[in-house]
Structure formats: C-alpha cells, structure tokens
C-alpha cells in the first residue's frame, strides 16, 4: 500500500511533465496572446523572455513546478488571473458534485445488483439482463440531457442551471458549498444547493450504477458457490442473514475494485455534466480554456483531474486493503 503511494508520485510528475511538454510544442504563442494586437515583434520577444518561453522545455517545466509549490499555476491568458485561483474556486465544486454522484451511483449500483441477484433463475433474469445492457448504453451525458428534459422542462420541478438560486449569497469558507452552508447555518442555501445538485448528481449516478450492479450480481453468484455458504445454510441461517452477513461482505470486494476505475471515469464525466447544467466547476473551466487555447489553465486543470483520479484509485486500494484480511501481513 505504501509502495503504491510512493509509485503514484513519479506517475503524477511524469504526467505533468508530458502534459507540459505537449502543450509547449503546440503552435500557440502564449506571449503574443497576452499582449494587445498592436504589440510589436520586439515587445512579443520581450514578453516571451519574461515568461521564460525562450528557454528549453525541461527548464520551463522546473520554473513552473517551482511556481506550483507556491500555489502559482501560471497566468490565465483569457481571464488575466492566476490559474491556481481559478482552480481553487472550481475544484471544490467539482469534488463535491463527484462525491455526491458517487454516493448516488453506489446506492443505485448496490441496490440494482441485489435486485438482479434476487431475480436469478426466474423469467425476470433475462429482462434484468436486457435492461441493464440497455442502461449501460446510456452514457452519463445523455442521462444529464434526459433528466434536464424531464425534470427541468417537461415537469419543471428542479432547477437545471448553476449551483444556487439567483439572489442567494454563498457563504464563504472551505469552498465546499454544502459544508459551508451547514457551518453557517444557512438552511435556505443548503436546500437550494441540494436542489441544484440533484439532477447532475443523479445523471452521473445513473451513468455509472449499471456496471456496478452487474459486477455485484456476478460476484454474489460466485460467492454463493463457496463451501462456507453451504455450511452457513446447513447451520440453518435465514436467507436474509446469509446474504447480508455472509455473502455481501465478500462479494463487495471485486465490486470495490471496479468502483475505483468507475469513479475515475465518473470524475471525468463531471466535465460534460457541468457543461450541460452550467455548473461552475473545473469542467466548465476546462472547456472554456480549451476553446480559448488558454494553455496555463488547461495545464492546471488537466493536472488536477489526474491528481484526483490517482487519489481515487489510491483510496479504493486502501479501502480494499482494509476490508480484505487476506492481503494483510
């Protein structure tokens, strides 16, 4: 486990260098873009020198890395602010959304998996199979559009733009809106934030629940073939107790391994869902930066996506390690 943690540092460093180098070799001149169109060639050259763009790429990377240490990710070309401060604003929003979506996906996935398992061997099994295959064909961004259409437009019960009702002022603090609202005791803000989060979180949850459900079902089927389950049944334990106390804890392990990968994808999926719902996280930041070819922001946001994905994979590994006694020394 510690080894995994140590390995993840060079991976992150390598990823950030590759990203840095790839963005530097693009034919996009950050210096020219940050000056007014009337600037002379001499001025552009001076700016290039200021930004260190005339140095070799590894040297530029070290300068950038040194800046990151102090929280400076480079000046955004389009927004004239440091990419780090834009990140500090957007990242908590996206992480909050992703965490809620993961909770939704876990509940739907576990519930769906138990349901699929419960109908095994009946005529409903084929139907469940078909439905889960069809649900797997609906990607998260389609869920986002579909839910927006149904609950935002046709039966307008939930808001579908932004993060808060207009007129509400968000309390300061950690940047995690739900947490800040609770800390400040602002129930109106909390309620509004939850209502705004409902559709995006549900869309992401629906997108990632079906594979979880299917893996849980098949690992439950595997576990039920094990000898210890027959033993437990011979001891006269009830079916519910068998399932919840004996089968589920073991069946959850392979599901957990899948969830690590799935949650990495889910975090990437927030990008589109944020764009669809106008949710002010790093997804919208990224898309705007890509449209404006705003390289410092692309670099910072791209890096933070990687860092979170690596973090999620580490966290699920750790959880797996905690739950699975076989891996312990």
């Amino acid at each position: 486990m510690i080894r995994r943690l140590i390995v993840s540092v060079p991976i992150l460093a390598l990823v950030s260098f590759l990203l840095f180098a790839a963005l530097r070799v693009l034919p996009i001149d950050v210096a020219a873009m940050s000056l007014p169109p009337t600037a002379t060639l001499v001025e552009v050259e001076a700016k290039r020198h200021d930004l260190g763009l005339d140095r070799p790429i590894p040297a530029q990377f070290l300068i950038w890395l040194d800046g990151v240490r102090h929280g400076a990710f480079g000046q955004s070309v389009a927004m004239r602010r440091d990419a780090g401060s834009l990140l500090a604003q957007g990242l908590p929003t996206t992480i909050e959304l992703a965490l809620c979506a993961m909770a939704v996906a876990t509940m739907l996935g576990l519930g769906g998996g138990l349901l699929l398992f419960a109908v095994r061997g009946t005529w409903l099994e084929g139907l469940g199979d078909l439905i889960s295959t069809l649900l797997m064909s609906v990607p998260d961004f389609m869920w986002a559009l579909l839910l927006l259409l149904v609950f935002g437009v046709l039966v307008p019960v939930l808001p579908f733009v932004g993060r808060l009702d207009p007129g509400l002022v968000r309390p300061g603090g950690t940047g995690f809106l739900l947490l800040d609202a609770m800390l400040a005791g602002r129930m109106d803000v909390l309620w509004s934030a939850l209502r705004h989060m409902a559709l995006p979180a549900l869309a992401l949850g629906m997108g990632f629940a079906p594979p979880i459900a299917r893996v849980l079902r098949s690992s439950l089927l595997d576990v039920y073939h094990d000898d210890y389950m027959r033993q437990a049944r011979l001891r006269g334990l009830g079916e519910t107790r068998l399932l919840l106390r004996h089968a589920l804890p073991n069946a959850v392990l392979p599901t957990l391994a899948l969830m690590g990968v799935q949650f990495g994808f889910l975090f990437g999926g927030t990008l589109l869902v944020e764009v669809i719902y106008g949710y002010p996280g790093i997804g919208n930041l990224m898309v705007d930066a890509v449209r404006n070819a705003d390289l410092p922001v692309i670099q910072a946001v791209g890096m933070s996506y990687c860092a979170v994905v690596i973090g999620i994979s580490l966290a699920t590994d750790a959880l797996h390690h905690l739950l699975d006694p076989r891996g312990r020394p």
């Binding site: 609906v138 961004f141 579909l146 259409l149 975090f267 890509v290 791209g302 994905v309």
Partner: protein, 281 residues
Amino acid sequence: MRWARSGRVIIGGLLLLVVLICAIAAPWLAPHDPNEQDLLSILLPPAWMSGGEATFPLGTDSLGRCALSRLLFGARTALMVAICAAAGAGAIGFALAHVAGYLGGRADWLIGRAIEVWMSFPPVVLSLILMVGLGTGTDKVILAIVLVDWTRFCRVLRAEVRTVSRKDYVSAARLIGASHWQVLTGEVMPATLPLVITLVSLEMGIAVVVEAILSFVGLGVGANQPAWGQMIADARQNVAAAPIGLLLPMAAIFLCVAGFNVLGDGLRRSLDVRQTELRGA
C-alpha cells in the same frame, strides 16, 4: 457459426444495419441538404404535431435546418468515426498487448507503465486536450479517440495474451521449432481473437459517444459537417421552446450505442469458449 444464432447478436446487428442503411443512403433519403438554412421556419415541431410542416418531417433546428436530414447525415459521421477509431485503437492496442503479454520482461513493464500514465487521465479530459493540439475535423476526432482508447484494448488483452502464452500447447509449438512469429500468429492470436472482436464492437459504441461529446462542446468534426453532438448542442440552447429537438439526436445515439453494446455482449457470450462451457451451453 453459433454466434449467428444468438438473439443478442441478431438484435444488435439489426439495429446497426438500420443505422448503416441510413448512413449509406443519406443523400437519397434526406429531404433537404443538411446544412440548408430556412430562417423563416426555425424550431418547427415534427410534421404530425400542430404547427409542423410536411416538408420538414421531423421539424427544424434554430437555424431552420431539417432535423431528419441532419440525423441521417449525422449517422454517416458517427459510423465513420466509430469504424475508423475502433479499428485504429484496436490495431495499436492489439499489437502492444501481444508484444507485452508474449515477450514479458522490460517490454511488458514499459507498456504497463504507459497504460498507467494514460489511464490517470479521464478519457474525456485527455481527448479535449488532444483536440486543442489537433484542431477540429473528422480525421482529428478519429486520431484523438485512437490516441486515448488504445489502452482499453491493451489493458484487457495483455492479461489474456499472458494467460494464453503460458498454455502447454504454446510451449509445445515452440518445442517443435516454431518461431516466435509463427507462435504468435498461429497459436496465440487465434485464441485472443474472440476477445478482440468483442472489444472492437464495444469500442465502436464508445467512439460514437466520444464523437458526440466532442461535437457537443464544439471541438469535434468541423462546423459544416452534421453530427449528432452538434444537434444536441443546438437543441440544448432551445430546450424550452423545442424539447423534441433534443430527443431526436439522443435517440439516434442511444440506438447506435445500444446496437454496438448488445452485439458486443452477444459476441462475448457466444465466442468465448470458457463462458459457454461454464454455462453448459
């Protein structure tokens, strides 16, 4: 030909056949040029609803372009990207997986680390970054998907190749004097082929979605090429006035992706010998 009798393969194949026919016959089936604007009749509902016009069977978008024509031509874009991207990503992943899984050692280590670095990017984010460098266009979208998704093949296939390579019959082939190349092509590849076919089918579905995503954010195929993602982006702006405009391209994407997934699922079940043995079929 057991696979030809599988219900899933037939259903998936039929769905895809419909999309394929639409794509090939788009110039003859479409009532209008997909980019022809009729600014006097924007956001029309389908012909059977009140306010609809018979000349626009499925209505129009915010620039008065015929929704049916754009759907049909969008199928061309989607299938083109799906086939080329899946073939490209499959070829790279297939080659690297066989090198890594069969040779093992340093090659395996290197390819394994490359996959790890790749997979630490969410696919959507990586393809967006690639589109910054590549620019827009169908060929660029295909290239971006190939560069992002080869890992999906490589990761799964590498393990499969490793398992197959350690089988006795592979060692036996080496013992009777077959070269590495002969063993790879004659013994290992036939065993991994069913998995490859399944993965290609699933990847085509993924490529359709990625193309739609990139076109939705305006970084996909060029502005003049009709694509389902662009239709969604346009309809998202006018969702309150014309909700049906959003449903049409979504339904098209769903049918296409479901076709690839059901087909892939069916192929996996019927081509994988171990699975059929387990199920006793």
